[in-house]
Each structure stands twice: as structure tokens, then as C-alpha cells.
Amino acid sequence: MNKEEILTQIEQFKEDGRKFLPEPISEEILASYNIPIPPASLAENVEKAVKCAKKIGFPVVLKVVSPQIIHKSEAGGVIANIGREAKLREAFPRILANARKYNPRAKVEGVYVQKMVPPAREVIIGTVKDKQFGPVVMFGLGGIFVEIFKDVVFRVAPIDKEEARRMIDEIKGLAILQGARGEKSIDFASLSEAIANTSQLAFDFPQIEQLDINPLCLYPGNIYALDARVILE
């Protein structure tokens, strides 16, 4: 998507009174800001899901897409580690059933089929509009670190790669990213770029109230945004 297309999407959702952009759209927006997303596509039925999984290659993860379901895992709307077609055919209806059970009135737009990526060190990148500073970007270690230790750092958006790198250097858990216990260092250049690009996205679109990339998976040679949430004003 180019900037105009993103704007059209945003306006459309605002018009429909929808604050939460669906995951596929959120990720497409990130991809257009050069933040790598694992291969994925939206499937309305099981046949399309199979076709899609074959194209991107197993294993895949299925995620429910519904405007009424914000917390997908809580709703049983995420099934990971699907290694072959038979499993997928069994998982697809299960996800739909879970969604119905969780919220009978939920309108399901489809199931997002995404390539599974190997286990990684996980971080979170986010943005939020602050009353005094406007869009600010946040970076921190993901999972338990963000929940318990709140090991996060902020900057006023937009920032460049160098400033993003300084953000990374400020977190207490930096050693985890550098590689503890024989682990390799993560790809700092790609991570810095992703933080800078996310900050630019938040700056370019003041309609975005909050944004979460959680988790962003880090590897020695590349990175992947596994889940994204864009909340409009």
C-alpha cells in the first residue's frame, strides 16, 4: 500500500465506526513501512485456507479475524503449529466454533493463515498519541519482561535509525538481545530500522491513536512482526 491507499483504508474504517483495524490490514500497513511480515493471507473458507497454506508452506498458524474479537487467544481464536493439510482441515472449523462460542454475535471475516516462524527473542514496538508530545514510539522486551518489569523506552516520533539504536541500548535487558548463554546476537540494524519506520508511520498518520507490534520476533539475520494491532482515534 502507498500512503494514499493507507489513508483510504483508515478513512473507510473510521466511517464504518471501527476503531480496531483487522490484523491483515494492520500488517499490510506495516509491510508498506518495510517492517517484515511472515507470508500470510486471509481465507474465507477451508479450501482457500488449504490452498494458501500450501502456497506459503507448512507449518502455519491460523488466527480468527473478527471486528468483535480483539483478544484472539482468549477467544480460542489462534491455533499454531499446523504442520499438514489434515490438521488444517480439522483446525479451521474448530476456530470458527470457538469464535461463535466466545461471542455468538461476532461477525467472522475469515481466518488469517500465516507462516509459522521459529522461536525467537521477542520484543514489542508500539506507538501512542500523547497529550503533550503527540505520537511517541515505545520499544521494550516482549512477553513477561514488558508485563512484569515494564522494561520499555520512549521517544517522540519520528526518530531515525541512530536514535532507535540508542533506545535499544537503554533497555535493562539489552544483554538478552546481544546474546546470553551462547546465543547469537540479534539483528540490531533491522530492529533499529523497524523502530524508526514504526515511528514514521505513527507520525505520518495522526489518525492512529495506538499501535502495537507484539511480538516482533528477532533472529540473528532478520526480524518478523508476528502480530500487529492498530487502533484509530
Binding site: 514489542i124 508500539g126 511517541v136 517522540v156
Partner: protein, 476 residues
């Protein structure tokens, strides 16, 4: 954003170097603010202290009900004053402020300092009043400090244009404070501590001029070498960021942000939203703009003073010279916590000191360099000379505990001499009281900060390292 600091400076200079000052709401009654402000202008303060001197420019009391205030002729309206007036200080009740501002506009006053309260902080009615007179001022090209502020204090000109109790000592730190009450207490404390200020600014409701405007002013003020900032909130965060980015390469800013406990926004849909507390964001903004963040008032003033008086450290390597083992260890702990490196003494330095024949056989031969308790001044001198000339260290913390043979004043003299010779940061930690004071007073007088607490000494050194590092990065 294009920012011209020179222009910003000249816009508010009328508050610091006014030609004539009118006090609207001047009073003959000693308990009134309108009396105290005149007294402060005339004598520098309402308490008799030896360092006080009054403002040498013209002072014009304004009050329709009085003929004279404190021996000065009183005018019924500011427009009746025949001479030039740059600055008006307003201390009339809130409902009379708008008229006063109108009169000031007519008189072509450049700056107005509104001490009166009862505006933006006092509900919709007050807010409306505030917006109303701000509009008048804008149209007339007048700048406003306040309302609901203490005013402006500029010791280099003996200008106490405020109702703060008295002028502080003259120094090199400009203190910009959103809280007026805090400023009052700092003044009283600072005189006792011999801590001097180049300016003190209380800007209250910041209906016009806000912290960034005064930071820009201080950047171009010839007396200010470091800026201390107490801040709760800002009108325009991005304006602050731009100004701070522009100023920190010229002068250091040390900031204390209040409101740490304030949590993230209430309507939360994301992780980021729940974590985005104002304090966390300010922390990021300070890092982004090279502002050094302090956790406590003591820390803020310690760092600001050190930055104002000491040369910056060219690197992160520090030596600790001490005559007390325990004190040295404690200091090393604090340094480590702050990421300050304490490189070992190089072998040739150990050899040099061993060969000097002046060291105690049990001296530490390490860093901290423990001279041992019976160290006289000569040992301090030899050790400091060796450490500061070695090229291995970017700064020295010198600890002195009071032993029977310790000569605080002589030791202090050695520190001053060494500092002059090698132009590297020296922080004193002459620890003690009644006897040690002879040395610490001399150190302070010569611009070497001294601390009774090793944590403070380490933090002061850290500030010189941190700001030095920032400047090197900005220059690349």
C-alpha cells in the same frame, strides 16, 4: 521547526534587563505582596542579609489610592508614568488584571509579570479571564510571565522582581521552576549552602511564556553556564523538544520531572497505551534531547553546579584517591552502579609511586588508590600528580577523612592546583564537619564541588562524563 535562540533571548530579555519597572498594585502595607515586591526591588529582599543589594534601575509604584510607597512616588495609572517602562509587575486582584494589561499595552510595556492568582488554575471563569488578557497582550506584542507565579530573579543585576523572600547569591546556574513555592525554599537553602544562581524563574500558569522560552533565554545569557529545570507539565511538548535539542549542545540542562506515580492513560487498548505514563515519556524526551534527568532536588542541583563549574570528562575512566579504605570501596560501588570505569593503576605508575619513598608500604597499589590513614598532604600531592598526568584517567574523585594529621585546607589547595594544571574534572569528597570545613569552603570557592556523601560525588562525576559523551556524539 526553525528556532533562533538569539531572537528568543531578545523576546524575554525585558524581564531580566528592564530599563524601568512598574509595580501595578503597589502597597503601603507591609503584609501585602505589592509592598514586598517594591521592597525586593529596592533592597533585594525582605529579610536583612549581607549579600543583598537593590535594583539600580527606575522603580514606579502604581496604585490610585496611594501617593507614596516606600519613599517612591506612586502613580495612579501606569500610563501616567512619564518615563520608559519595560517591565510591569502585576499584583492586583484577578478581576483588575485585564484592565492593568490594557494599560500596559497602551504604555507600550514589553513584558508583564503577573503575580496575581485566580486564573487558569481556578476554573472556567478564571480561564476565560486569562484567555482574554493574553489576547490583548498578543496584539500589543507584550510577553507574559505567569499568572500565578513568583516572578523573575536575576542576581547579576540585583533584580528581585518577585515576591520571593530575597535574592540568592550570584552564580552560574539558572533555575527554571514551574513551582514558585519550591523556588522560595531553594533560595533560603542556597544562601546557607553558598550555592549561587545566575537566574531564578517562576513561570506559574505559563499562559504565554513556558519553560522552553526560558531555556532558550538561558542558553544565550552570558552568566548562565548550566540550567536546572523543575517541571510538571508543558504547553507544547514538541516545542520543548526542539528547544532542548538546540540548547543542550551549547549548555547543559538538568531536569527534575514531578509526577512519577501518574500511570498510563485510562482508555487503553494496547500494551503501549498502558505503559505510556507521562514520566516514562518525559524520560524518553530528555534522552532524545540530551537533557540530564535528576531523581531528586539534591541531585539536580549537584549536577547542575558541577556542570557549571567543572571541565567535562573526555571519557569514562575515573580514579579514586582516598585516605580511607572503606570510603574508597563505597565510592567504587557507586561508580560501578553508574557505569563509571575504574581502571587499574598502570604498572609504571605503581613503580613511580613506590619509588617516591613517600608512600606508606601498605598503600593499595590499585584503584581506589588508598594512601592509608596517616597520609599527609605530600602524599595526596604525589598521588594526584601521578594519576592526573598518566593519561589513563579522565577525572578524579578525591576522598579525605579527618585523621589527626590531616590538613583539609592544604589538601584543598593541592586539588585546586592540580585542577589548574591538568584541566581535568576533580570532585572533592572531603568528608566531615567543623574541622573539614576549612578545606571544603576553599574547594567550593575555587569551583570544585565537594560532597559529604560518596553517592553524590560519584553522581556529579557521572554528569561530567554523560554530558561530555553527549557533546562528542553531537559533534560527530
Amino acid at each position: 521547526m526553525q528556532i533562533d535562540l538569539e531572537e528568543k533571548h531578545s523576546q524575554v530579555q525585558c524581564f531580566f534587563e528592564p530599563q524601568g519597572i512598574a509595580v501595578i498594585g503597589a502597597s503601603q502595607h507591609s503584609e501585602k505582596i505589592g509592598y514586598q515586591v517594591i521592597k525586593n526591588l529596592q533592597e533585594g529582599g525582605t529579610f536583612p542579609l549581607p549579600h543583598l543589594k537593590g535594583f539600580s534601575g527606575r522603580i514606579f509604584p502604581v496604585n490610585p489610592k496611594a501617593d507614596q510607597v516606600l519613599g517612591l512616588r506612586c502613580y495612579s495609572k501606569i500610563t501616567e508614568i512619564p518615563e520608559r517602562v519595560d517591565l510591569a509587575i502585576i499584583c492586583v486582584p484577578a478581576r483588575l488584571v485585564t484592565q492593568a494589561i490594557q494599560d500596559c499595552a497602551q504604555k507600550k510595556v514589553k513584558g508583564v509579570s503577573i503575580i496575581s492568582a485566580g486564573f487558569g488554575e481556578a476554573g472556567t471563569e478564571g480561564k476565560k479571564l486569562q484567555e482574554g488578557f493574553l489576547e490583548i497582550a498578543k496584539r500589543a506584542g507584550m510577553r507574559i510571565v505567569g499568572p500565578n507565579c513568583l516572578g523573575i530573579i536575576y542576581p547579576p543585576r540585583h533584580l528581585n522582581a518577585s515576591f520571593a523572600p530575597f535574592l540568592p547569591l550570584s552564580g552560574k546556574v539558572a533555575f527554571i521552576s514551574q513551582s514558585g513555592a519550591l523556588l522560595d525554599s531553594v533560595i533560603d537553602w542556597s544562601v546557607k549552602e553558598n550555592y549561587g544562581f545566575s537566574a531564578m524563574i517562576s513561570y506559574g500558569n505559563k499562559c504565554d511564556l513556558d519553560a522552553p522560552d526560558f531555556i532558550a533565554w538561558a542558553a544565550k545569557d552570558p552568566y548562565t553556564k548550566a540550567i536546572a529545570l523543575y517541571i510538571e507539565g508543558l504547553n507544547d511538548g514538541r516545542y520543548f523538544l526542539e528547544i532542548a535539542k538546540k540548547v543542550t549542545p551549547i549548555k547543559p540542562i538538568v531536569a527534575l520531572k514531578a509526577g512519577k506515580s501518574a500511570v498510563g492513560r485510562k482508555a487503553v487498548g494496547s500494551h503501549t497505551g498502558s505503559l505510556a505514563g507521562s514520566y516514562q515519556i518525559y524520560k524518553g524526551v530528555f534522552r532524545q534531547s540530551g537533557v540530564i534527568m535528576a531523581d531528586t532536588l539534591t541531585e539536580m542541583f549537584d549536577m547542575a553546579k558541577t556542570l557549571a563549574y567543572q571541565p567535562l570528562a573526555k571519557g569514562n575512566r575515573v580514579a579514586i584517591v582516598t585516605n580511607g579504605g572503606g570510603n574508597g570501596v563505597m565510592c567504587a560501588d557507586y561508580c560501578e552502579e553508574l557505569g563509571i570505569e575504574l581502571p587499574n593503576l598502570p604498572p609504571e605508575l605503581i613503580e613511580k609511586l613506590d619509588k617516591s619513598g613517600r608512600m606508606h608500604p601498605a598503600w593499595s597499589r590499585g584503584n581506589p588508590l588508598d594512601l592509608v590513614g596517616d597520609a599527609g598532604s605530600e602524599r595526596y600531592e604525589i598521588a594526584l600528580e601521578a594519576v592526573m598526568s598518566s593519561g589513563v584517567y579522565d577525572g578524579v574523585i578525591v576522598i579525605q577523612t579527618l585523621q589527626t594529621m590531616t590538613k583539609p585546607l592544604r589538601n584543598a589547595g593541592i586539588l585546586v592546583e592540580m585542577q589548574k594544571k591538568y584541566k581535568k574534572p576533580v570532585i572533592g569528597a572531603f568528608m566531615g564537619g567543623v574541622i573539614t570545613e576549612a578545606g571544603t569552603k576553599y574547594l567550593e570557592k575555587q569551583g570544585i564541588p565537594n560532597y559529604n556523601d560518596l553517592n553524590r560525588a560519584a553522581k556529579a562525576m557521572w554528569a561530567l562524563i554523560e554530558y561530555g559523551r553527549y557533546l562528542r556524539r553531537r559533534k560527530v
